[in-house]
Amino acid sequence: MSTTLPTSIREARALLESKKMTAVELAKGYMERIQASDKDLHAYLEVYDDVLEQAKQADARIAKGETGPMLGVPIAVKDNILVKGKTASASSKMLESYVATYDATVITKLREAGAVFLGRTNMDEFAMGSSTESSAFGLTRNPRDPSRVPGGSSGGSAAAVAGDIAIAALGSDTGGSIRQPAAFCGVVGLKPTYGSVSRHGLMAMGSSLDVIGPLTHSVEDAETLFSVIRGRDAMDSTTIPDDRPFIEQKKVYTIGVPRSFLTKGVDPDVLAAFETGLKTLEKAGHNVVDITLPTIEYSLATYYIIMPAEVSANLARFDGVRYGLHKDGKDRTDDYRQSRGAGFGKEVRRRILLGTYVLSSGYYDAYYGKAMQARDRIRRDAREVFKKVDVIATPTAPTPAFKIGSKTSDPLAMYLEDVFTVSANIIGIPALSVPHGTAMRDGVELPVGFQLMAPELGESTLFSLGKVLTGEQA
C-alpha cells in the first residue's frame, strides 16, 4: 500500500477524484507511514486521534460530488498554529498542556476546503531557532541524513514532507523559518507576502515579520496551498484587501543577483549549486543580471534587533496566570518570574533579555531606533532595485544541513544561518525556496535551496521561476 501512496497534492487529488483511492485509505496509508518512520525522525509531536474521522467526512463530501484542491488531502500543522480542541504547545514547556480554544483562520479555511489534519509538528521553541534543536520536546532529524538537523524553526513540517509522512505542511516564517528548513530537507517552502495570509490563531513572535506559509513537494503544490489559505481576514487587520491585485505573470523575467552579498561565508558547494540554478533560468530564456544592493547585507543585524524587541513584547503575555505553566513563587510578582523562568527554554530567554535590552531607556535610540531607520533604508533600496529586476536571487542558506549539536553552543553562528532569508521579512516581500542541486557531505548528497524574492504580491513570479528550477515547467 505505502508504495502506491501519492506524494503530492496534485497526485492525491487525481486519485481521490477518480475514486481510485478514498480519503480514509489515503489517511490510513499516511498514518501507517508515520508509525513506521516517525520514531526515528520525530517530525510530529502528536498525531491527532480524529484523523480517520476527518477523512470520513472528506469522503462523504467527495461522495456528494464536491471537489476542491485540498479535499481529502492529509497535511501536517506546525505546533504554533491553533487547531480547536488540540494541544498547541509551540514546542515549549510553557504551553505543554495548552489546548486551543479556537481554530486559526488558516485552519478554518483548510477545514472548509476539506483538508485532513494529520497532527502537529515539532519546531524550535516559539519558532526561535534554525535547527529545531531548541524544542522542549526533543530534536527532529533530517530525513536526507539523520545525523543532521532539518533546519528550523519549521523543522518538523519540513521533515514530515521530505520524509513522505505528510503530503504538505503549514509552517510560519519570521526570518526564514519556512525557507531554511525547506532548503535543508530538499522541499519547497514559500514565505508569502507579509499580510497576504491571516495570522489569527498563529502564536505571535515578531508581529511586523510573521507570516504563515506552505511546505510542499512541488511549486505547484505550494501555489495550491497558498491559494487556499490566503486572503483578507477581519480577525487579522494586517491582512491585505482582496481587491489588491497580484503582479501578473510575464514570459521573460529579469533576475538580479547581489554578487557582493555572496562573497562572505557562503559554502562553495552551495554557491556552485546556486550558479547552476542561474544557468537553468538563463537556458529557459530569462535574463540574469548583477545588481548592487549593499544595504541588504545589514538585514541580519537589523533583524536581530527588531525581532527580539517584538519577541520580548509578544511573550509578555505568558505569565502563568490565565493559561500555560504556573509555578508558585514568594508572591504574585515572583509567580510571574518563576513561571516564565521555568516555562521558557534557553533561546527564548536569551531573546527576551536581548529584546528588553534594545528597548530599554538609554539603549532604545542606539539599537531599536537605529534598526528602524536601517529597515527603512533596506526597504527603500529594495524598491529601487525592483524597478530594474523582477526578482532577486540568492542561495536560501549559506550552508547545507549541519550536524546535530554543531551550532547549539554558539547563538551567533546559528543566527548567521538566516543571513539570506531575513531580508524578505524585513522588507515584507514574498520569497520562495526550491531545491536545486546538492552538496556532498560524508557520502550523502544534501539538498541545497535556491531562493527567489519578488516585490509585494509577486507570488506568481516566484511560482513561474520556481517551476523552471524544479523542472515542473520548461
Binding site: 487587520s237 543585524a301 518570574r337 521555568a342 542606539a366
Partner: protein
C-alpha cells in the same frame, strides 16, 4: 560590555527568573550579539524621513467578536486555578 549585573537587571525587567550560574554565559552571549547588531549604526540615517510602509502590523479594534459565554468553559479549563468561572490569583494588596 554587558555585565552579570546588567543581565540580572534585564531579567528583573522582563520578570524572568534566571539562575545565578547562567548569568556569566548570558552576559557573554548577549554581548557578542550586541557587538554584531551594532553594525546597523552604519546604515542608520538620522536625516532620512521615516516612512510608514503600506504593509505593516495593524492591530484589530478592541471590540467583542464573540457571543457572551461562547468560550468561557474552554478558557476556564486553561486557568491554573479557578473558582467556578472566576480566575483565582494570589492576593494583590
Amino acid at each position: 560590555m554587558i555585565s552579570k549585573d546588567d543581565v540580572k537587571k534585564l531579567a528583573e525587567l522582563s520578570l524572568l527568573a534566571v539562575e545565578e550560574r547562567e548569568l556569566d554565559t548570558l552576559a557573554g552571549e548577549i554581548d557578542s550579539i550586541l557587538g554584531y547588531v551594532s553594525e546597523v549604526t552604519k546604515l542608520a540615517d538620522e536625516e532620512m524621513e521615516r516612512e510608514t510602509p503600506a504593509l505593516r502590523n495593524v492591530m484589530r479594534l478592541d471590540v467583542i467578536t464573540n457571543k457572551p459565554g461562547e468560550y468561557t468553559e474552554a478558557i476556564v479549563a486553561q486557568f491554573p486555578d479557578s473558582d467556578d468561572t472566576s480566575l483565582r490569583v494570589k492576593k494583590i494588596l
